[in-house]
Amino acid sequence: MSFSKQVLIAGFGGQGVLFTGKFIAYNGLFEEREVSWLPSYGPEARGGTSNCSVIVSDDPIGSPIVMNPDILIAMNLPSLDKFEDAVVPGGKIFIDSSLIERKVERDDVDVYYIPATQIASDEKLSGSANMILLGNVLKNTDLMPYENVSKVMEKLVPAKRKNLIEINEKAIELGYNF
């Protein structure tokens, strides 16, 4: 069966929602798959709620708007409230449980609770909760292989910000091993 994954990442502006989406999209590009990345834009992308649709597929992509994600990464409560019901049956929801206290109500999806913001704070990786969540996505889905992380990071983060590369890679590793 051909590969096709629809991912929705949602949170506050500044949590790295768009960057997380780009990470997944770039990996798709490396794997020579069809890729689309679509942000919400405008004032709400500058500090309010922000979300990002990413599709990675072996087939040509029609609409780039993810209505029913296979994978939802929810980084705040409004995002979970808004998108929980949209996830396809059998889909997977990844939750930053440091910021979202409630549990997912559905029982036809797999849910992963990761206290990403807390881990980031404990490990002095502040601002990297998104990468911790992504690490866990890598472990629990076939979205992208862990081996590709360094290669994608290299493409996305300029070499002169080596420090940032290390922080991000450590965050992904922590999430993967959570």
Binding site: S36, Y41, S63
Partner: protein, 353 residues
């Protein structure tokens, strides 16, 4: 073939324009297309180009007129309210027979409207873009790759026919990222002996002008311009057909609406509904012949639009109202959902029988 890169639609327009030889950009900030200006501001100084943020949309389009008059490739970009301000300049560009590329990354209107995607400037782009009798080539990209290829094409057609090309995109295609190849091939050069370059006291002055006080002369310039337009209608129509070979129902959509429609067509086919898509790539010239041909075998049409129903007029005219045309639309920044489109297709099946 060059390596594919991930680019935002707006940035892809800017880079494609540079590859097409455009070294002059004039603009004014407005969401959702400001990335084009930002990209140009970064790139132009590095390649001896000119980026200038004008005091208004009106000034920007007139600066475009100035560069176009000198025979160089030039562009401006804006979003709906800004394009309204440029209307005067667009009419002068036509009246002076000047080539230029104008990008409209549409948002919802009227008035200040919103900032989310829209296709409600279809009429403005294809029909009512300024005073006087004139046409404009209107190109409607549906992917980031087409943002590149149609920008390139837009400059070429503008030079070839000495007129304005408009890239009519929407906020979704402008903001999204997709892998693109920037390999567009050679830029064709056209004769521009009409350009204002200074006479060097070697030739008669060139005059770039739209004023003709003698009615006979003004009529003649209009006739000549429309002869050129007729050539364009004959030679430059572009559209895509998707699953039209055996189609009994035809969806017509462009830009982001066509992408949603493709998903629905795939789903409808699974249900046994023989539906296809005609996607106009040039909105002017409109693919009239393809639609008229489709009207022979299709029982009904569905126009999917992010407007209150604008392209639907051109569909009905093209098929000479031979078959029913249904409208499936969302406005104000909303995009028709796959369910909206599926409902419309199923309605078409009911009506078409």
């Amino acid at each position: 073939m060059s390596e594919k890169v991930l680019m935002k639609g707006n940035e892809a327009i800017a880079e494609a324009a540079i590859m097409a030889g455009c070294r002059h950009y004039f603009g004014y900030p407005i969401t959702p297309q400001t990335e084009i200006a930002a990209y140009m501001a970064k790139r132009m100084p590095k390649i001896d180009g000119v980026f200038l943020q004008a005091e208004s949309e009106i000034a920007a389009i007139n600066m475009v007129i100035g560069v176009a008059a000198t025979g160089k490739r030039v562009m401006t970009s804006s979003s709906s309210p800004g394009i309204s301000l440029k209307s005067e300049g667009l009419s002068y560009l036509a009246g002076c027979d000047l080539p230029a590329l104008v990008v409209n990354v549409q948002r919802g209107g009227p008035g200040l409207g919103g900032i989310q995607p829209s296709q409600s400037d279809y009429w403005q782009a294809t029909k009512a873009s300024g005073h006087g009798d004139f046409r404009r080539i209107v190109l409607a990209p549906a992917s980031v790759q087409e943002m590149v290829s149609l920008t390139f094409k837009g400059f070429d057609l503008a030079d070839k026919y000495r007129m304005t090309s408009m890239l009519l995109a929407d906020g979704t295609i402008g903001q999204m990222m997709e892998p693109v190849s920037l390999d567009m091939g050679e830029v064709t050069q056209y004769d521009k002996s009409w350009a204002l370059t200074g006479t060097g006291r070697q030739r008669k002055p060139n005059i770039v002008n739209s004023l003709f006080l003698k009615p006979e002369e003004l009529e003649q310039t209009n006739f000549e311009r429309y002869d050129r337009y007729a050539q364009i209608e004959k030679n430059e129509v572009m559209y895509e057909e998707y699953m039209m070979d055996d189609a009994e129902y035809c969806v017509v959509a462009f830009g982001i609406a066509s992408r949603v429609s493709k998903n629905v067509i795939n789903e409808a086919r699974k249900k046994g509904i023989k539906v296809g898509l005609i996607r106009p790539i040039t909105l002017w010239p409109f693919p009239k012949d393809a639609l008229l041909k489709a009207a022979d075998k299709c029982k009904a049409f569905v126009s999917v639009e992010l407007s209150m129903g604008q392209m639907i007029d051109d569909i009905e005219l093209s098929i000479r109202c031979k078959k029913p045309v249904l409208l499936c639309n969302r406005v104000g920044g909303m995009i028709p959902t796959p369910q909206d489109v599926m409902n419309a297709v199923e309605e078409a099946v009911k009506i078409g029988g």
